[in-house]
């Protein structure tokens, strides 16, 4: 009998322009809790999507051997059928339906299309007992806390007789007690012979619960070790152990006076008003510096910046100062006028109007500067837009070209042009080089340099450690909505950042 329940052999997966996974090997023993760790973009999610059939057989190369047989999953249904259940970070329950309806969604206990509610309720109660959840099967999911919802998800997986449970960042929204409860449950599953793949950024949890750990980095398997053979610093060095070969065109300037200051900034979740997303954050940013904000997915970096920009949070506490003056307004229009602009990480969703021209996109946030009594001076607009098109080297035959027809790099430059035209004192760049090619990245770095030289303060969020290290003058590291560390560029290393980012001290 094979000791491995799952073997993923030589898995490779390419997206246009990027190799997301490169000959990854991943073996999970029957009945163990196996942690899968790596930085943002290391390939964890891609690997799990292949395993669960989200990326169907044929779109990747390599073999999946599950319970001793080579499998070809074409849909999630296929992998579920084989006994694999995945529980995502964002819970996939339907809030308006009851616990029972959710557990049997798509697998309703029925007789020729008529649901047998009696049996459904009895079965649901059985599964709820198994996950130690003391609620009625008829409770609506929206009346449950996040932790309880997660247990419902696990109960749902149980109902499908899964042998392999994949948990993706299961504790990110849980309280300490809920986490302890979850861990007890997972240990109980282990005794019953249910295998578990545990994905998390929180290293202390991993050392608490996992039997073995596999580390992915930049799409390759770095190592698989028994937890007992590792400690936190060893694990971190495995996660970030790349050589810094990429070179950055960073130019150092002397930072000037403070332009932006944040004091005791606390932000509450827009959907769950009692939950703090950002907790008591304070920092300053200076003229002519690049302030990097590092952190792992879900650390609250984007939420922090969007709340400064006035477009996130049900309630925001704290003070924002620009050039020493307190800004009380909390809407993007006023913040832009105060001199702060924010380039969103979601270029297509939050940045561009794809069905409009380059011209209209670039001038969108600064129409007031080029108009009198709300009438736009078209010629002035063309002149300004052409200036930015030339300065940013946007490749296009005409400024009337629709933005939707441009490449990712050029689209990013259009959004950048939009914010430069607002003439900001502070420019917040959220993942400014995501999804663009190397050449365009380099150009964006050069633009950042010239902005800093002209006295703009850049706040840059990035998930790429080399980028943060290569471009920042100072680095703030966030974890769970708080700033856990601050490093000057001279003392910053990948290991130090990762240690703060995973909750270490």
């Amino acid at each position: 009998m094979n000791e491995y329940i799952l073997e993923m052999v030589n898995i490779s997966k390419e997206f246009p322009g990027v190799k997301a996974l490169d000959n990854v090997n991943f073996k999970v023993k029957k009945g163990e809790i196996h942690a899968l760790v790596g930085e943002n973009g290391a390939g964890k999610s891609t690997l799990m999507k292949i395993l669960s059939g989200v990326y169907p057989y044929g779109t990747y190369s390599g073999d999946i051997i599950f319970k001793g047989k080579i499998r070809q999953f074409n849909t999630i249904k296929d992998s579920e059928h084989a006994g694999i259940a995945i529980i995502y970070q964002e819970l996939a329950l339907i809030k308006q339906l009851s616990v029972c309806e959710n557990i049997f969604l798509g697998n309703e206990i029925n007789d020729r299309g008529v649901i047998n509610w009696e049996k459904s309720y009895v079965e649901t109660e059985k599964f709820l007992r198994e996950v130690r959840l003391n609620i009625k099967p008829t409770t609506l999911v929206m009346n449950l806390g996040i932790g309880q919802q997660q247990l419902v998800e696990i109960a749902k997986a149980m109902s499908k007789q899964s042998d392999l449970l994949i948990l993706d960042e299961p504790t990110s929204a849980l309280t300490e007690d809920e986490i302890d409860n979850l861990f007890d449950l997972l240990r109980g599953f282990k005794e019953k012979g249910i295998t578990c793949i545990y994905i998390s950024h929180k290293l202390d949890e991993i050392f608490k619960i996992a039997d073995r750990i596999t580390v992915l980095r930049d799409g390759i398997t770095v190592a698989t070790h028994n937890t007992a053979d590792l400690d936190e610093s060893k694990l971190i060095s495995l996660m970030v152990g790349r050589k810094l070969t990429e070179r950055f065109p960073k130019v150092r300037y002397e930072p000037g006076e403070v332009v932006l200051e944040l004091k005791n900034w606390t932000v509450f979740d827009p959907e769950i008003p009692e939950r703090k997303v950002i907790n008591n954050v304070s920092f300053t940013a200076r003229k002519g510096e690049v302030l990097g904000i590092a952190g792992l997915m879900g650390a609250g970096r984007t939420e922090l910046c969007m709340s400064i920009f006035g477009c996130y949070g049900s309630k925001v506490l704290g003070q924002l100062f620009v050039n020493g003056k307190e800004i009380k307004a909390r809407d993007p229009g006023s913040i832009i006028k105060a001199g702060v602009s924010y380039l969103s990480e979601d270029r297509k969703g939050n940045g561009l109007v794809l069905i409009q021209s380059i011209k209209k996109n670039i001038s969108m946030a600064s129409l007031d500067y080029i108009s009198k009594a709300t009438v736009i001076n078209e010629n002035e607009e063309i002149r300004m837009v052409e200036k930015y098109v030339t300065k940013l080297r946007i490749k296009t035959p005409s400024i009337e070209q629709l933005v939707g027809n441009l490449s990712g790099g050029n689209q990013q430059k259009v959004v950048l042009g939009k914010w430069l035209m607002t003439n900001p004192k502070v420019l917040i760049l959220d993942e400014p080089t995501r999804g663009i090619d190397v050449g365009a990245k380099f150009e964006i770095y050069n633009i950042i340099n010239s902005l800093v030289e002209s006295g703009v303060c850049i706040i840059m969020i990035s998930s790429e450690l080399p980028e943060i290290l290569g471009m920042s003058d100072r680095i703030l590291i966030m974890h769970e909505g708080e700033i856990r560390g601050e490093l000057h560029w001279k003392e910053a290393t990948q290991e130090k950042i990762m240690s703060y980012a995973t909750g270490g001290k």
Binding site: F309, C311, D331, P332, G333, S334, I335, I336, K337, Y342, S344, G349, N350, G351, L352, V353, L354, I355, Q356, K360, S363, M364, A365, L367, D368, S371, T374, V375, I376, E378, N379, E380, I382, R383, E386, V389, T390, R393, K395, P397, S398, I399, E400, Q401, L402, K418
Partner: protein, 397 residues
């Protein structure tokens, strides 16, 4: 620098791009001429007479005026189903004020316009500031204002207005020389329009030159001037050779010019298109989305009032059933003219071509004595087809 030269030498490219972007409008214009040709043949020339075309233009005024407002509503990604019912109510209010309360036409018109503005603002408040879907808000008004119309009219026709009011719907521009052989004022207006167009076109050229931008070559510019001049001359001569330019048409032309200016040249217009194209991006660019949406509906209400006045004046009566299916005509005009049902795209001139298409189909079918039941069926199907074309072309893009 390569880039710079490619930007400079872009006149030809931008003309090509312009044609590509407006291809829908050009095809609709060709389709309009095609529809006219068919009706002319089928009605043995009756359709193309200056009398009929003049009537056709008057008939399309109500739809055209409302379509201008509807373009903004739909570009912002919303809808207004209430314009028919609201127009009925506003027409009845104007009629009742004049015929029952003895209010002067000017005051009645002013009150009606203000009432329209308030109704539009009411819609805008619920949609923008209370987040109720536009579909529901205006569906509610569609029903509610049918009731208000019945209340105002008491279920009976209110009619017979002063000549001043009637002239807004039926009248023509008076002659300068009372016994001239043709409507000399209208001819003069046509000539002045052509001169104004030429002056504006050259002024635009000069300011572009001042900024150092590339301008179209002289032959291309002259070609454009000749084309537009011939179009203006043709349209005005049709009307001159009948009884002159109808006052309603003049009102419509005024609205077209104002709304074209608003959509193309003002920050408000830009905001509308940005909101329809990507609401999140608009919000994050500092655009006050709620205020803009409120203004869009206020403008729709105002134009509905204007359309109601023209319509009531043309019929010389307000009836309990007035305004029935106006919303279909206005929405269909926009969609036929290239306004996207998903928001973000649409032009005033396109919607006017759409309104002409709808009015031509109405007019042509009436001349052919097509039974009203088939007219409804055909118009309904045309709307379906136009939306389908919108989706089908969007997918390919």
């Amino acid at each position: 620098m390569n880039l710079r030269t490619s930007l400079k030498g872009s006149v030809n490219d931008s003309i090509k791009l312009n044609i590509k972007l407006n291809v829908r409008q050009y095809t609709m214009f060709v389709a309009l001429l095609f529809i006219w040709l068919i009706f002319t043949v089928v009605t043995k020339g009756l359709f193309i007479t200056s009398r009929n075309l003049s009537n056709l233009f008057i008939q399309m005024c109500t739809t055209g005026i409302m379509a201008c407002g509807m373009v903004l509503v739909m570009v912002a990604g919303h809808i207004d189903l209430s314009v028919g019912s609201v127009a009925g109510t506003l027409g009845a209010i104007a009629a009742a004020l004049m015929a029952k309360c003895g209010v002067s036409p000017i005051l009645a018109i002013a009150i009606t316009l203000i009432a329209g503005l308030l109704i539009g603002t009411w819609h805008g408040f619920w949609i923008a500031y209370r987040g109720v879907p536009a579909f529901i808000v205006t569906l509610s008004s569609m029903t509610a204002f049918k009731g208000v119309t019945l209340a105002v009219t008491n279920g009976a026709t209110i009619g017979e207005f002063s000549n001043l009011f009637k002239s807004l719907g039926q009248g023509y521009i008076p002659k300068l020389i009372p016994n001239a052989e043709f409507n000399d004022t209208s001819a003069l207006i046509g000539i002045i329009s052509i001169i104004l167009f030429i002056i504006f076109d050259f002024r635009k050229r000069n300011t572009r030159k001042k900024y150092g931008f590339e301008v179209a070559t002289i032959p291309i510019q002259i070609l454009r001037i000749v084309f537009v001049s011939v179009a203006i001359a043709l349209a005005s001569s049709i009307m001159v050779s009948y009884r002159g330019i109808p006052i309603a048409v003049l009102i419509l032309i005024g609205i077209i010019l104002i709304y074209t200016f608003i959509t193309n040249r003002t920050t408000f217009g830009r905001h509308v298109y940005a909101i329809g194209g990507n609401k999140e991006a608009a919000k994050l660019s500092g655009i006050n989305v709620k205020k803009t949406e409120l203004l869009i509906y206020a403008s729709m209400g105002l134009l509905t009032a204007l359309a109601a006045i023209v319509f009531t004046a043309r019929l010389n009566a307000a009836t309990p059933g007035a305004g029935n299916l106006f919303e279909l005509d206005a929405i269909a005009s926009c969609i036929i003219g290239g306004t996207s049902t998903m928001g973000g795209k649409g032009t005033i001139i396109g919607a006017i071509i759409g309104a002409l298409v709808m009015a031509s189909i109405d007019n042509g079918m009436s001349l052919m004595n097509v039974n009203i039941m088939y007219q409804y069926m055909i118009k309904g199907l045309i709307l379906l087809l136009a939306v389908w074309v919108d989706f089908a072309t969007k997918k390919r893009a």
